[in-house]
Amino acid sequence: MRLIKTIIIIAVMSCFFVSCSTTLPSHYPEKYYKQNEAAIIGIESNYSNIYKQKPLVIAFTDNAFRYVTVEMKTDSMRYVYEFKSTEKRLADTLQKFGYDVISVLKLIKDMQQIKCTWINRLEYYVDDKKQNLIFLSIRPKAFDVMFSGKKYYTLTFYSQPQYYDSEGRLLDKRNRKRLRKINNEVFWRINSKVCYTVSDRFR
């Protein structure tokens, strides 16, 4: 009798843990995007403008979003510094490297508000021509589910409309029967130029 009880308890606990790790609604990212569209587009657009003037990568490496890592590139060097987001040294450094300090500080603040952990631009090539896409990773509260490995919602912004299959999965441009995987992840449609994946890492 005791053995049966133990087995039942273990089975119930296992079901609980499994359900905890899989309770995210499947359309959550699309819903999240629509709810926060203005803020997300604002961040992407501000970042694009900053990057056009000077390359920059921003990441938050702590859970509380207090510390920001800034990667600044010149022609010959990449400089990586970590600051407290409220530190005066941050603005001084941005100024020293010739960034638009007001725009970058606004970007950092906006990122903190929607729990955006990382923003970067990736160069890729289609028919040997250089294209760019912007990566933006977000860690919404709803993703803080116990035992869930998938914690980040990574959005990609393309400059051209992309191809998707009937299930909304991103396709390779040249071979439309093949899924376009980035870092081994399948991406899903939000709109013609924006798609997402859910991942266990933000970059």
Binding site: Y79, E123, Y124, K151, N184
Partner: protein, 300 residues
Amino acid sequence: MMNFLVKYFLVFFLCIAFSSVSNAQKSVSLNPQQISALAYLDSVGKVDSSIYWPNIKPKLFIQNIRKNIISPTFIYAGSNTNFCGYAALSYSCISTYPLRYTKFIIELYKNGKADFRKVHFNPSDKVKQATGQLKFKGELDINHADQMWYMSLADNFKGYINWLSLTYGPGKENVLWPSTNFAKFNRMLRRICDYKVDAVGSDLIRPIFSDITAFLNQKLAENHQVFLFLNNAILHKSNHNKVKFRFPTHYVVLFSITESAGMTNLTYWDYGFKTLLQLPTETFKDILFGVTWCNKKAEE
């Protein structure tokens, strides 16, 4: 009118003078080995498509080799791949032996197999088929010679870490298949670059130094090429998990190190760039698992 003409000619001559100085600098910056390698590459001229490497585009291939000879600093391991060990080795190897590299890579392209010193390369058909098709790796997408070089190195050199993934399959460039443990990295340096290699550290246990900054500065001052084996999960965080794997995954080429007020400033090469990184000294000690220093032999 006269004044205007004088000014005009002055500006004109200054432009010519600056442009000739800049051209001179460009040519001066190439060493004799680089000039020989470029001359060899020019003698090869245009190459046809290779039956062995069907997805390599000849134009991109030659363009990539030329760029590597002129500017090895821009050698790029690709975004989210596990090629960093090969890239660090290539940075050193191509800087030191550009002619040998050029002859080797052309032969490998034309014949599907080639020898680099005593190392025989004859990559598998799967590797040959996939080379030229790696996508979303940044500039590596169009660097077809680099794709061929990294994939061939990964296919040829195996360490215990590769035992779980010995054969190539699509997407495996991002996971264990090309991974490089510390002993494998040092073995590659010895066999490919023919350096006298010394190392301290391991894949799991961190080395103990009384003063790491002084130690590394001494090696640099003795004109060694110094490589560091680091835990990238802390150096380049990609999640917010409190529990981090305590093992190293990343290789960089060290240029300088200074320490002040508990902070370490590292200047190193990786991912096609020189990087200046500032981090707490305690963190640096935590992430450093291996140091390799080599005596570069005289250029050939």
